[in-house]
């Protein structure tokens, strides 16, 4: 075991050295890289070149680029012109998770000139089944950094900018203004509304993907024909997120990958298609060929892809209409009544006498085997791992009719009753529901396990899986 520990430590140090050296060599190489003019610089460069009467570099790809990107240049849809555009394009990927990783892989591979990648989170082992830019060795490393490092090993010729920060109303407009397109690869409602507003205010298209369980959805919001010289519908503007969903959903109707699960290839498919739409958009495909005003629904359960028609832009939309009510970014967590980081959710809705710590519960369980343990997680989670002797009453089914059985169990129990869930939030909700309806005489014996099974694993039994 000592050998394993020692070697693992050595490998970590070597990886860090490798990371540093790769960065170093990239910085040196950058000096010699043929500089491709960005959109803004292009005109000036062309003028200068005309004056000097030299070959227009911007209209000819260098040898290395023709060779490297030949397989996609061969496509009439991309071609030399398209490749030039790709190499001059700047794309901001928000979220280096299940969607952002595959999306960024293909954008980097395609030679998109500049990719910014934003994520405030660190790599966790539970991410790796879907977040394909991160490996075991990247655990606890910033996702933005880890993603940028992997992308650099895929393509050393492009500029990568990791943003190890949380995109918020005070920095989002400024950061995104440096880019041409935004990819929404985030995992929560407030950030989705914010990115939509950023996209409208900065007049940038938003390629929006989402995935959960076995399903994914994809569309482009805020498309403007004006910025695409191939698009004849000069004045056409596609709907924005608020045109289609003017009001955020109720918080209790919103799922998440960590609570509901997700099959790795689902965000893989959607993220990959986000990259494809981004590439098509950059090379100048017109809006009838893009997922504009249309929504792709992917259901991995029966392998169905469905393309549905969305409503057009709302002339009265709060943000993208001619006379918008919203003219600057808002506090989206307040607007949506939801937090953007679900990990921070830390309910505290019970009186102290109805709570018990993991240590205290362990002592109580040692003293008696009559203690009733009520696990309120889903049947699936209960099957994954549970405390010995616990009974399962999933919170989602704990309503009017079903609660009676549980109340009977509690009344019949001659000992204490403890509610358990994963993190200690749902168990409080369940206890609250029970306390609201049960007779006073039983109230004092009911508790919830503070911090849930995560706390149990941390303070009592390290063998209990944390998921």
């Amino acid at each position: 075991m000592d050998d394993i520990d020692r070697l693992e430590k050595e490998i970590l140090v070597l990886r860090e050295t490798l990371r540093r050296k790769e960065k170093e060599i990239f910085e040196i190489k950058k000096e010699f890289m043929p500089k491709l003019p960005s959109k803004v610089e292009k005109e000036i460069v062309n003028q200068n070149e005309c004056a000097k009467n030299v070959v227009k570099i911007s209209e000819k790809l260098p040898k290395w680029a023709i060779e490297r990107y030949s397989r996609q240049i061969l496509l009439p849809e991309i071609g030399v012109k398209g490749q030039e555009k790709l190499m001059g394009a700047k794309v901001l990927v928000v979220g280096a998770g299940g969607l952002g990783c595959p999306a960024a892989v293909y954008l980097a591979g395609a030679g998109v000139g500049e990719i910014g990648i934003v994520d405030y989170d660190q790599v966790d082992l539970t991410n790796i089944h879907r977040q394909i830019l991160h490996s075991e060795a990247d655990q606890n490393v910033s996702k933005a950094q880890s993603a940028a490092d992997s992308l650099r090993s895929i393509n050393s010729k492009i500029k990568l900018t990791p943003y190890n920060i949380e995109l918020n109303p005070s920095n989002a407009l400024e950061i995104s203004a440096n880019y041409d397109v935004i990819l929404d690869c985030t995992d929560n409602v407030p950030t989705r509304y914010m990115l939509n507003d950023v996209s409208v205010l900065n007049k940038m298209p938003l390629i929006s993907g989402s995935a959960l369980k076995m399903e994914g959805q994809l569309t482009i919001y805020g498309y403007r024909a004006k910025t695409n010289q191939n698009d004849k519908g000069y004045k056409y503007i596609g709907p924005c997120y608020r045109c289609v969903f003017p009001t955020p959903p109720p918080p209790e109707a919103v799922g998440s990958c960590s609570a509901d699960g997700v099959a790795g290839p689902i965000p893989g498919v959607i993220g990959t298609l986000q990259a494809l739409e981004t590439i098509k958009l950059i090379v100048g495909q017109t809006h009838d060929n893009l997922l504009v005003g249309r929504l792709l629904l992917f259901d991995g359960e029966d392998m169905s892809f469905r393309n549905v028609k969305l409503r057009p832009r709302n002339p009265e939309c709060e943000i993208c209409s001619e006379s918008p009510k919203i003219t600057k970014l808002l506090n989206y967590e307040v607007v949506c009544r939801m937090q953007s980081k679900e990990k921070d959710l830390d309910l505290d809705i019970l009186p102290p006498k109805n709570r018990i710590t993991a240590m205290k519960l362990a002592e109580a369980l040692k003293a008696t085997n009559k203690h009733l343990l009520v696990d309120v997680r889903s049947e699936h989670e209960f099957e994954m791992c549970k405390l010995d002797g616990a009974v399962n009453y999933p919170l989602e089914k704990l309503h009017r009719s079903n609660i009676d059985l549980l109340l009977k169990d509690i009344r019949d129990c001659c000992c204490r009753v403890t509610f358990i869930c994963r993190r200690g939030n749902d168990s409080q909700i369940a206890v609250k529901r029970v306390l609201d309806v049960i007779e006073d005489e039983y109230k004092d014996k009911i508790t919830d396990l503070t911090g849930g099974l995560h706390a149990w694993s941390k303070y009592v039994d390290g063998e209990f899986p944390v998921y």
Binding site: L99, V189, A211, P249, G255, L297, E301, L310
Partner: protein, 109 residues
């Protein structure tokens, strides 16, 4: 026209969880007047269908599907693969063999 109206009802994006996790259903609606004798109009509109769904298919937590007389925010209603807003939303008149989808928007990534 007393023949029952056949419609395909589909749920997705998590909306199916409120309906026994069944994503696709085929239902036959009786003559509207038979079902709602007090109803002022003759033909089934989507708003009548929403009430029918609430009475016949929705088991628990109607607030996660309906809000007022419409669907809750975050559920997209599609009539034959097109946003219901293109067809008059609640007042759309159901046709034989229509497919009505209720898709909850996803936010994960």
């Amino acid at each position: 026209t007393m023949e029952p109206l056949k419609v395909h009802i589909q749920f997705g994006g998590g909306a199916e969880l409120l309906f026994d996790k069944i994503k696709r259903r085929e239902v036959e609606l009786p003559a509207l007047k038979k079902y709602y004798p007090d109803c002022k109009h003759e033909k089934w509109l989507i708003k009548d269908l929403l009430v029918w769904i609430k009475d016949n298919l929705l088991k628990e937590r109607p607030e996660l599907f309906l809000q007022g007389d419409s669907v809750r925010p975050g559920i997209l209603v599609l009539i034959n693969d097109a946003d219901w807003e293109l067809y008059g939303e609640l007042d759309y008149e159901l046709q034989q063999n229509d497919t009505i989808m209720f898709i909850s928007t996803l936010h994960g990534g």
